[in-house]
């Protein structure tokens, strides 16, 4: 999520990575040196070659230790042992009688390059250059000394010099050119953080707007539809509730609390927010019929419960305000994975095309709420045929059902048709298509769930 390294980490990180690269370069060089000494020693084994093998192995071991702990003593030890190894190796290889005609051999450069690639302690380009320069000097001195004791003429070792120059060039470039992106990197880091904050803020905004809509806007619309005269009891209660909610500044914080206790008591239904929402709607004069597995609501966690309650409340408010009918039905259903609530009315219904895009009720207060919690919302409606809203939330059955609960709860799963009245509707609901918002075959053919609801009686 965070693009790039911040300035204060760059030097140390690069230094570590370059040291690691140097060490691997060195290890390969030493392996090459070892392999070639072994190959050369196939013919006449001399003590000198055996000592060289020991020195190379020792140098490699020290390099491995240095790669793990980049400390000053180990760096110095490596440089000293490396110089000794270079001396032995050069002397041993060039000392082979009549094989090599000059000292400018890649073979001879191998331990010297490993010595340059010391990748010593400390971070920063200049420290790295310093260690490599020391390594280069040690290597050249050791090699020159060794060559002088052999009959082979000493020629400049181009490989070592070029390797040294390239390594220094890389280290200086990485150390110096970093400064170009200096202004951009903090700006990008800030942008990443801002984005994180903005995402959270947006999440809150969405919830605030939904709540705002539930309270204030609905209340204003109720007032706008009232008849002149004294306030009705329902309206007065509603206004009081709205003002009370608005005075409670911490409502979002409350919603946000994740540690909230599960619905208290053994009766999940009476403790659920859905029950309270239905209760409030009844206060406002709506006749609500409830069927289905009411106790399944106890499976919802605190946040799900609260949000589902608010969504159901909005659906019922919609019935009151738009359906032109004062009766609704709530069907609660559950399977092993999900808990769903369907709100049905036999009212006027609506068509998608006739609904203004400035309407917020279903969009914010119902759909966004449920979808934010990973649930789905499916709506069936057409003018004159009523409306059905199916809200589904994921709430798996807890694996081991506690004894107290299992006594209270009916077995979960498909509804028993005989459980309540209106069995055909609930039975059909259980067979209703999975609550994925499939592009249902348009209005003329509503789902079976609709066909059997009381909506039919209201439809001419």
């Amino acid at each position: 999520m965070s693009l790039g390294l911040p300035g204060h980490l760059v030097e140390a990180t690069l230094s570590r990575a370059l040291a690691r690269a140097s060490h691997w370069f060195g290890v390969i060089c030493l392996a090459g040196a070892l392999a070639s000494v072994l190959a050369l020693s196939m013919a006449p084994v001399t003590d000198r070659l055996l000592a060289t093998i020991a020195a190379i192995v020792g140098m490699g071991a020290l390099l491995a230790v240095l790669a793990k702990w980049r400390t000053v003593p180990l760096t110095i030890a490596y440089l000293v042992l490396g110089a000794a190894c270079t001396y032995l190796f050069t002397g041993a290889v060039l000392g082979m009688p009549g094989v090599f005609s000059s000292s400018d051999l890649f073979l001879i450069s191998l331990p010297k390059m490993a010595l340059i690639m010391v990748g010593g302690a400390g971070s920063g380009a200049l420290v790295g250059v310093l260690w490599s320069t020391v390594g280069f000097l040690f290597a050249e001195v050791a090699a020159t000394l060794a060559v002088s004791q052999t009959p082979v003429p000493d020629r400049p070792d181009v490989f070592t010099i070029v390797t040294y120059l390239m390594l220094v060039g890389v280290m200086l470039l990485d150390g110096l050119t970093r400064r170009t992106g200096r202004a951009a990197q903090p700006a990008i880091h800030r942008a990443v953080q801002d984005d994180e904050a903005r995402t959270l803020r947006h999440d809150f905004d969405v919830r605030a707007i939904a709540l705002m809509h539930d309270t204030t806007l609905n209340q204003l619309v109720s007032v706008a539809r009232a008849k002149p005269g004294p306030l009705s009891r329902g309206l007065e209660a509603g206004i009081r509730e709205t003002l009370h909610t608005l005075a409670d500044r911490d409502w979002l914080t409350h919603v946000d609390e994740r540690t909230a206790a599960a619905p208290a008591g053994s009766d999940g239904w009476l403790a659920s927010a859905v029950y309270r929402a239905i209760d409030r709607s009844r206060d406002r004069g709506l006749v609500v019929d409830i069927t289905g597995e009411k106790d399944a609501l106890g499976r919802l966690d605190a946040e799900q419960d609260r949000e589902l309650g608010l969504a159901v409340q909005q659906c019922l408010v919609n019935v009151l305000q738009h359906a032109g009918i004062a009766a609704a039905e709530v069907v609660i259903d559950a399977d092993d994975e999900n808990v769903s609530v369907m709100v049905l009315d036999a009212g006027s219904g609506f068509m998608e095309a006739e609904t203004g895009n400035d309407r917020l009720g279903l969009r914010q207060s119902v759909r966004k709420r449920i979808e934010r919690l990973g649930g789905t919302v499916v709506i069936w409606s057409r003018p004159g045929a009523g409306t059905s809203v199916l809200l589904t939330l994921p709430a798996p059955v807890p694996a081991p059902v506690p004894a107290t609960l299992s006594a209270d709860l009916p077995p979960s799963g498909p509804l028993a048709p005989s459980q309540q009245g209106n069995s055909s509707a609930t039975g059909q609901l259980a067979n209703a298509p999975a609550p994925t918002p499939t592009p249902a075959p348009a209005a003329p053919a509503p789902t079976p769930a609709l066909a059997d609801t009381p909506a039919d009686q209201a439809t001419p």
Partner: protein
């Protein structure tokens, strides 16, 4: 290419940008060495044509490296990697063929060291496994072609020593490159984990405060009208015709505000902040967001952050005309398959290289792969920046370095003073995501968004 392995270039684009001069430097070294080695050892070459071809192949490999590492070409893909390594190995093979039977010394051949150096140069751009694997394969080839030539070598040592020389020249730089790549990616990822944790922790701390701020903002908006109105209503206990009319009016106002807030995207917030910053600097400006379909919501966090940083840099640049910035988002239709136009190039790069295509916003969709099941959403940023093009590019370089990594394709057109930047965000077609917008459910009024003219945000 389905799963992208992390590289320094993807994780730390700016650091890679800084190290970029290394690539042309190494390319130049390889090229020069291959020419010099061929000239100096011309007595060993028996087929000059093959020797020439060898130099050309090695030069092409170096050119591939330079082209693929250019900031405008990022990120360095697997295909370019394969092309480069194949050319380099081909150069090595041709070189060996041109002096087969006459090669006196292995250590002065340009093939092995050329391959090794080119692999080393890949360190910031490619995953370590691929660098190491390329090095291993090249080493096997080196052994296979070094051992049979043992008859021609000048010095009388076991043939294995020659193979060791060739292999070390390839493997030492390649291993160094792979080790660098592995180490730096691990360091950056380690840092990212910490940074993410820190950001989450900070955001969590701010949670309560932020929630209160949001509530405060909402309630403040109501304090002037709605709350006093409802309180009065409760006090008097009666509803008059006037009250009813006022309630309707207030409801319409509140609804309008809420709808505007619902439709607000991150882009609106970013632009609003830049606008405030401009006003603070004493040059209030007109910044326009044209996103009628609210496509801004489909972009990922990294894309949002990189775009926000770019917009910030543009608005703060000297010579920026505060009335000139227009950010537009267009794209392929949400519910249908990717639309392609006949007769347009199918390679996004092709479109990117052609500046004429970059000019018209309609040309944006030109570069779609024909049958690719992906949506492309394009952010087009237009601004007037009164600076020489060279300076504009220098200003944008670090930001574009990041943006190129997080967006599918990027096109930049500089025609003083106008500057156009187009960013293509590619997202795979996800049927679930596609049907989620409420338009998919026939009867629902949710999320139904009419085609509205571009909004002007002031």
């Amino acid at each position: 290419m389905t799963r992208r392995s992390p590289t320094q270039q993807r994780l730390d684009p700016l650091g890679t940008l800084a190290a970029w001069p290394l690539a042309p430097a190494i390319g130049a070294v390889v090229l020069c060495y291959s020419v010099i080695a061929t000239v100096l050892q011309s007595d060993q070459v028996h087929t000059p044509l093959l020797a020439t071809l060898a130099v050309i192949a090695m030069a092409s490999a170096a050119a591939t490296l330079v082209i693929a590492t250019r900031p405008a070409h990022s990120p360095f893909g697997a295909r370019m990697h394969l092309v480069m390594v194949s050319l380099a190995v081909l150069g090595y093979l041709l070189e060996t063929a041109s002096r087969w039977g006459g090669n006196q010394v292995v250590q002065d051949d340009f093939g092995p060291i050329g391959v090794g150096l080119l692999l080393l140069a890949l360190a910031p751009y490619r995953p370590w496994r691929e660098i190491a694997l390329s090095g291993a394969i090249a080493s096997v080839i080196a052994i296979a072609i070094t051992l049979p030539q043992s008859g021609s070598y000048r010095t009388d040592v076991p043939a294995a020593v020659y193979a060791i020389v060739a292999v070390t020249q390839i493997l030492a730089p390649a291993a160094a490159g792979a080790a660098y790549s592995r180490r730096i990616v691990r360091s950056i990822k380690l840092y990212q984990t910490d940074a993410r944790r820190a950001i989450v922790a900070r955001t969590e701390e701010a949670r309560g405060q932020l929630a209160r701020a949001v509530v405060e903002q909402q309630v403040t908006a109501l304090k002037s009208g709605v709350i006093p109105f409802l309180t009065d209503l409760l006090d008097t206990g009666t509803v008059t015709a006037l009250d009813i009319a006022q309630a309707g009016q207030l409801a319409a106002d509140v609804r309008r505000t809420l709808v505007a807030e619902v439709d607000r995207t991150w882009l609106d917030s970013v632009v609003a902040r830049e606008r405030a910053a401009l006003a603070e600097r004493g040059t209030p400006g007109l910044l326009v967001v044209a996103d009628p379909e609210h496509r801004a919501t489909v972009f990922a966090a990294e894309q949002r952050a990189a775009t926000a940083a770019l917009l910030g840099a543009l608005c703060a640049a000297t010579g920026f005309d505060p009335h000139s910035l227009v950010v537009q988002i267009t794209g392929t239709p949400r519910r249908t398959q990717t639309r392609t136009q006949p007769g347009t190039p199918t390679n996004p790069r092709a479109a990117a290289i052609r500046p004429d295509l970059g000019q018209s916003p309609r040309g944006l969709r030109a570069g779609l792969p024909a049958a690719a099941p992906a949506h492309i959403d394009t952010i087009t940023i237009q601004a007037a920046l009164d600076l020489p093009p060279r300076k504009v590019r220098a200003l944008l370089r670090p930001y574009l370095g990041v943006i190129r990594v997080v967006f599918g394709a990027v096109r930049v057109t500089v025609r003083r003073p106008s500057l156009t930047i187009e960013l293509d965000g590619v997202r795979p077609v996800d049927p679930a995501a596609d049907t989620l917008p409420a338009t998919a459910t026939p009867a629902t009024p949710l999320g139904v968004r009419a085609q509205r003219p571009p909004r002007q945000v002031r």
